[in-house]
């Protein structure tokens, strides 16, 4: 591999000139610039990232931390984050926490502080105090989606408001027997949005003067169609407490609930209304009314914020930006006919 000295020699100039010609900054005569570029091209010269980093302190690389990559929320966010970062000239190195706790630790204490990244993005990662400390010591900008982290700029939706909005929609449609399916998964990896959504659900019921019943609440172990299916069957089969509407805390659960209802001979939305959260592509296909949280929008905003911080570390950015949610009404909800 040709180095900068090879280019310099071949072009008959100094390495400093080569550096200037190729970086674009600093004054340089158009002629030599063109010459250097031609030679560099011909020799297939590519600057060494490590040498560049060593001297400038900048890596042009962003560390992105995710709890998993093969789950909808995270892969969706990652897709956008990566795309936007690449456009801005950054590489992204991925730190996936699903490898286990010991590796998790080394990610925070070794990998991230290794001066391999200019900033760190956390996609809905719940971190311990110690981990936040480790990160802070790196002294690099930190931005996050999904939950507040001390010392980081964060973007998140108001999950309480989301749960409330979904439930209010159901109430406005005349429903009063409204169940909720949520995941109380004990997962230390990521922020559990569930409790907030449930709080919103209960708030809406309370505002409407409806007394929540324990039997209306089903907890599942993960956000999967199969789980929503099983939970809905339980809910709908209950002879005393069967609901006329279900609020599922994710669209995947909602799809499962819809399938369960159909298998039980119920028609949607006549016999049962369902609303989910996410605006997952599946909810469009299945016609599920949902709360759109626009992951791609959040992710794009996250990158934007990070770029601002990188550009000007003193830039004023709110510690927490609340991303708006909206209700998307489709064919899974309808007025209750009694």
């Amino acid at each position: 591999m040709a180095g900068i000295v090879d280019v310099a020699r071949e072009a008959g100039v100094s390495t400093a000139t080569v550096s200037r010609a190729l970086s674009g900054k600093d004054y340089i005569s158009p002629a030599t610039k063109a010459l250097v570029e031609e030679v560099a091209e011909r020799l297939g010269y590519v600057p060494s990232a490590s040498a560049y980093t060593l001297v400038t302190g900048r890596t042009k690389n962003i560390g992105v931390v995710v709890p998993y990559v093969d789950r909808w929320f995270f892969s969706s966010a990652l897709e956008t984050v990566d795309r936007e970062l690449v456009k801005a000239g950054y590489d992204v190195t991925l730190y996936n926490l699903s490898s286990g706790d010991d590796h998790r630790k080394s990610i925070f204490t070794k990998s991230l502080p290794r001066k391999r990244v200019d900033a760190v993005m956390c996609i809905s990662v719940r971190m311990s105090e110690a981990e936040i400390q480790s990160l802070a010591k790196v002294n690099k900008p930190i931005v996050a989606i999904g939950g507040p982290i001390a010392g980081a700029k964060c973007i998140k939706i108001d999950d309480t408001a989301a749960g409330k909005l979904a439930t209010e929609h159901l109430i406005a449609m005349g429903h009063s027997k409204i169940a909720m399916i949520g995941s109380s998964e004990i997962d230390e990896k990521f922020f559990d949005v569930f409790n907030e959504r449930r709080a919103g659900y209960e708030l809406a019921l309370k505002d409407a003067g409806i007394t929540a019943r324990d039997a209306w609440y089903k907890s599942v172990s993960k956000y999967a169609i199969s789980e929503g299916y099983a939970a809905a069957k339980q809910l709908l089969g209950d002879p005393h407490n069967a609901p006329t509407a279900i609020f599922a805390s994710s669209d995947e659960l909602a799809v499962g609930a819809m399938l369960a209802a159909k298998d039980m001979g119920l028609t949607i939305p006549n016999d049962l209304s369902i609303v989910g959260v996410d605006n997952h592509e599946l909810s469009d296909f299945f016609g599920i009314t949902t709360i759109n949280q626009n992951v791609h929008g959040q992710a794009a905003q996250l990158v934007k914020t990070m770029l601002q911080l990188l550009d000007d570390p003193e830039h004023e950015v709110a510690d927490q930006l609340e991303w708006p949610v909206e209700l998307i009404v489709r064919s899974s909800t309808a007025r209750l006919v009694s």
Copy 2:
């Protein structure tokens, strides 16, 4: 951030000793080793990746190229690849090709050759001659899943065999009117496995003396439930050519087909048998008979191969490893009753 000199000074030794103590190699007295380790720990010393790379030439980082990250196959593979690589002490930097062609070009000509990675893994990425050339110039090991790349070690399933096996299963169950849904998506980003699967399908029909009909073949634009649904409706509604069985070239398509059949009043598997490919988690839930391609197994093997190559570049590895597929029979296929 403490550097190696800080540790050396604090421990009262030379930087060379610190380096030796921490790297573990070379002779060093247990006492000084312990001392250095204690000091390093106390000072929160973390070696700079770029300095390390600059002098050793090694990065402890692997470049992983994917066409998309938010699609099942790729996110599944990425999850395993990352997990295994982290276990082996490597970071992963992600090169997502979905950012557009100009960025794609710079990934191959700039990012990858920048000496930021020790090796490159391509997850089902179709590359042009020029791109392969760029990569080859990096002179680093290249391993791939999904399709042959000159100069790279590759793992792939035999897609023709997969299509044949699926179809043969249907034939063995007594079916002769067998349709196929596949994606002929023109996507330059990744290897199109579809044509091979179709070839296998046709081969099986031919072997059984069945003449394929054009009307049995439906092409869709992408691997999505919605597409499988639409295609199956067309197939099943055809008054002259309605099949009794469908081979879908992915499980997502198969799920769509199943849903379409149900909506049309058909019961699975009595009125229609369906087989997919992937062993996607959905196929388990929906009880779809499928061809398991074991993405996680392929990905793990890929990492293993790469590690061998990194360990010993002369290591003998076949240019192409054929990953076995197996038929998983579930409840979406049954003997044809006539």
